[in-house]
């Protein structure tokens, strides 16, 4: 039975271009206080365009209605539980938005002199210190713009450090449970990928790892807890195996929200890792960005961090560009500062105890869901889990219903689906991460929904395969979209 939602009316809204007609305007500009300039004379007639063909012309009320109507077609955390495994969709506290808009921060220009940027630099230094304490690492760069960008930065650091020793080596080991960004990053950083298999407990298999590590291996990229939500219980030993051969351990910090306050990567042998501020530290995902992917390292990698570095000289912050061993720049300016502000606000609001409590609540919520669903869905791995749990559609697949179908049916029950078909090592994976910000009430509704869907599948599998039924659009034809891509609006008849 569907308890959480019932349908309501949404307004139809065409592409903005179809609202356009000449002469309508939503802008006002002040009177010029200087003489006008003839564009043709100043720039040369050939350099001046005749007008932006196709650009919309609408009134202010049309503009606001357009975007408001579109917004109502979205599901968001502000609506309810968003249990995407690995994505860490937790509530985004609004004070973080408010402080990012403080005028002296939002309007700070990246090239304003250091002496007029002390406040911004102080914020970055405070975040540096907090991230080092939380991860047990020694130094940090805030420059990477997102998690995958942080991965690339981290692997380039490994490469630079090995090169400084005379040999960058050839390959990077990646467990088969890893995020797709890991192997993609490794290729871009100029390394070969060698996949290593997980053992029957979905963890890195120590014996086969030991066999795979030789003088050609630059590093292992490991996610901990891994994408099954399981803590790599042999992580210290794993790190020792790599270190013994002069290789390093890179940790994908996507799941740091399962560790903050209870364990620190710096204490279990990690050399370098990235953090996703938009996951663990609650900065809004915004429909797919902006993110921020700081990289934290142990002391031995610090000389290679991107330029510029924040330095304290004569009681003032300043940017230091004189870092001869640096890998260089990975992004213009200093990073996604506005996201850094939000993350620091989150850390300040929680404090050390609050971060630990958030971690524990996230683990509790995930375990509670696992318990509530294990009678109804196949749990392929029985090892204890932390912040997320992964089921498979094995039982439902026998009735012809896949993880993707169950996900679509969840929408009718008023929930965003879990992560579908990932990690790849679980066939028909259903990856569920509730986060700490959900109440027992909301989680119980979610469990009820999945139990109810399991029953529906027993009774009428075809019905579930047609879901969703209550959305504005029914199942979207992604195959045709890819076969004949239409990626921009054109006037009807064009």
């Amino acid at each position: 039975m569907i308890k959480k939602v019932r349908s309501h009316i949404t307004q139809n809204e065409p592409p903005i271009f179809e609202r356009s007609s000449p002469g309508k305007a939503a802008y006002q500009l002040p009177e010029l206080d200087v003489p006008p300039v003839d564009a043709g004379e100043a720039l040369g007639a050939a350099s001046v365009r005749s007008g932006i063909e196709g650009f919309p012309e609408v009134s202010e009320v049309e503009a606001i209605r357009h975007f408001t109507r579109l917004s109502t077609y979205n599901y968001a955390i502000d609506h309810g539980l968003y249990p995407l495994g690995s994505c860490t969709m937790k509530y985004n506290p609004r004070v973080n938005e408010a402080v990012a808009q403080v005028e002296g921060l939002a309007w700070a220009h990246p090239y304003q002199p250091d002496e007029l940027s002390q406040g911004a630099m102080e914020i970055m230094a405070a975040l540096d210190a907090a991230l080092c304490e939380i991860t047990g690492m020694d130094a940090v760069t805030l420059q990477p713009a997102a998690g995958a960008h942080g991965e690339l930065t981290g692997i380039l650091l490994v490469r630079a450090a090995l090169e400084a020793q005379g040999n960058p080596r050839k390959k990077i080991l990646i467990p088969d449970s890893a995020h797709g960004t890991n192997p993609a990053t490794v290729s871009i950083a100029g390394y070969e990928v060698e996949n290593i298999n997980s053992n029957d407990r979905a963890m890195v298999d120590v014996a086969s790892l030991a066999n795979a590590v030789d003088e050609d291996v630059a590093a292992l990229m490991v996610t901990n807890p891994n994408t099954l939500g399981t803590f790599e219980e042999n992580i210290t030993q794993v790190a020792e195996i790599l270190h013994a051969k002069g290789a390093m351990v890179y940790m994908d910090g996507a799941n740091m929200n399962a560790l903050a306050g209870i364990a620190r990567p710096g204490d279990f042998g990690i050399d370098v890792m990235h953090l996703n501020l938009h996951k663990t530290f609650s900065t809004p995902h915004g429909g797919g960005g902006p993110g921020s992917g700081p990289v934290v390292v142990k002391r031995h990698l610090e000389p290679f961090l991107p330029i510029p570095r924040l330095d304290r000289v004569d009681d003032q912050w300043r940017w230091n560009y004189d870092r001869p061993r640096s890998i260089g720049r990975v992004r213009a300016f200093y990073g996604n500062f506005g996201v850094l502000v939000r993350a620091l606000a989150y850390i300040m609001a929680h404090g050390g105890d609050g971060l630990r409590k958030a971690t524990i609540d996230a683990i509790l919520n995930a375990n509670y869901i696992r318990k509530g669903l294990e009678a109804h869905y196949e749990l392929p791995h029985k090892a204890p889990v932390m912040h997320e749990c992964v089921f498979s559609d094995e039982r439902q697949a026998k009735r012809g219903v896949s993880t993707g179908d169950i996900a679509k049916r969840l929408i009718d029950y008023g929930f965003h689906p879990y992560t579908v078909s990932f990690p790849l090592i679980v066939k028909g994976a259903m990856m569920i991460e509730p986060t700490e910000t959900e109440s027992k009430q909301e989680i119980d509704l979610f469990i009820d929904a999945l139990v109810s869907i399991a029953q529906e599948i027993e009774e009428n599998p075809d019905f579930v395969k047609g879901a969703p039924y209550s959305t504005r659009v029914s199942r979207v034809d992604e195959v045709t979209a890819a076969r004949k891509p239409i990626v921009r609006w054109t006037p009807p008849g064009d």
Binding site: S117, G338, L355
Partner: protein, 426 residues
């Protein structure tokens, strides 16, 4: 809930972690603060920055007025707190908005397809270089030294680790546009792409056509970069380019000490399968209604893993939405008027200052500080609550006595007069 899990205490939740990895002390982070204390802290830090001053800085981050509608839209929780629109049926809002962003990016740049945004302009440059390498199967990149210096630094970091050879070519002294003679010497039959920026880092508008001809003569692609999107309200877009790479910050994205911004890559239809990052496509639902979804994801890392076109996962959806709302608010006529105001302001200011280059410029230009050092000019202005221009010596040693000055629709005439005074008085 613990009891339901068969546990007695919260500690039992992670008692399976090996003892030696557990943190046995509290984190050394001060106790949680109230909302008021947090707001107060950040206001205090904001006040330590160049708060409330007039500024003539540009150089890749521009001061433009942000229409109120922009924050009204992007602060809606439905946009702010949604994830990447993988589940199309409940993400049509984000998808439709990105589809409009892609369309407007095409209209603006004169290209046929644009992606759903990149991290920023600087990181979009190496992505475009990669794209050119895949298309041409060549490994050499030639860039004008009038491309934003920090963008070139980012390109160098990527290139160094990918076995890509890079070369630079200079600018015509006096004019300030990139030298076609030097480009002719630099480009060869191993070149995958020629990269130029227009308006370039000096604010000078480049001629695209001759650069395109030289690149194409050698079978290389032309990549044109823009950092000042408002210029495209007035300037002929680089239609002869094969790839256009840009930074959308000028479109209502706060300068925010350097980020988050939103980059974009636009190109010709024939290269659509080589474009990195997310793309939204139009399709139909099972009832025949128009619907949108992420598409061509077989290019992407979550499907292709190590064979993907890029490792990029996140785009800048919310920031791109700011730009989309901005373009909607200003529209066809407004963006042109806005660009005309920028042109008028910068030319008023340029009329009062000695200029280093005589090439045509849009809203920033290189001023030659004849009487005192650029640092001294800025020191004088600081006393008048004005942040001056960017001294160029740090990027171009030969321009040590020059500064890059930018004037936009937000520059007041009296502040420009004050700037000129500081420049010209002994």
């Amino acid at each position: 809930m613990l009891a339901a899990c068969g546990l007695e205490s919260a500690e039992d939740l992670f008692s399976h972690l090996p003892k030696d990895v557990r943190l046995e002390r509290p984190l050394a982070i001060p106790p949680g603060k109230s909302e008021y204390e947090i707001v107060d802290y950040f206001r205090g830090r904001g006040a330590e920055n160049a708060n409330g001053r007039a500024s003539f800085l540009g150089a890749g981050a521009y001061y433009h007025y942000r229409p109120v509608l922009v924050d009204t839209v992007v602060s809606r929780g439905e946009f702010l707190t949604a994830y990447t629109p993988y589940q199309a049926e409940i993400s049509q809002g984000t998808l439709a908005a990105i589809f409009e962003f892609q369309t407007m990016a095409c209209q603006l740049t004169g290209m046929e397809v644009a992606n759903a945004s990149m991290y920023d302009g600087s990181t979009a440059v190496p992505e475009a270089a990669q794209m050119a390498r895949r298309i041409t199967r060549r490994d050499r990149i030639v860039a004008a030294n009038t491309v934003h210096p920090e963008y070139r630094q980012v390109l160098a970091t990527y290139a160094r680790n990918q076995g890509v050879e890079t070369a630079e070519f200079g600018y015509a002294p006096g004019v300030g546009c990139s030298s076609m003679e030097e480009l002719e010497e630099a480009v060869d039959d191993r070149t995958a792409a020629v990269i130029i920026q227009s308006p370039n880092f000096f604010g000078v508008v480049e001629e695209i056509k001759p650069a395109a001809e030289l690149a194409h003569k050698h079978g290389a692609l032309l990549v044109v970069v823009f950092t000042e999107a408002v210029s495209l309200g007035l300037l002929e877009p680089p239609r002869e380019a094969d790839i256009v790479v840009g930074e959308m910050q000028s479109f209502a994205i706060p300068p925010s000490y350097g980020g988050p911004y939103a980059g974009v890559i636009a190109t010709k239809q024939k290269h659509i399968r080589q474009i990195p990052g997310r793309l939204v496509g139009q399709t139909k639902d099972s009832n025949g209604n128009v619907a949108y979804c992420l598409t061509l994801s077989t290019r992407e890392q979550h499907i292709r893993r190590e064979k993907a076109t890029s490792n990029i996962c996140t785009n800048q959806a919310l920031v791109a939405l700011m730009a989309t709302v901005f373009m909607t608010v200003y529209g066809k006529r407004g963006l042109r008027e806005l660009a005309e105001q920028n042109l008028a302001k910068s030319h008023y200011l340029a009329g009062k200052l000695p200029q280093k280059f005589f090439g045509p410029f849009f809203n920033e230009f290189v001023a030659h500080s004849v009487l005192q050092s650029p640092a001294e000019v800025n020191r004088r202005l600081a006393g008048k609550n004005i942040v001056g221009g960017l001294p160029l010596g740090r990027f171009y040693p030969e321009l040590e006595d020059c500064m890059l000055v930018c004037a936009t629709e937000m520059s007041r005439r009296e502040d420009m007069d004050t700037l000129a005074e500081a420049f010209l008085s002994r």
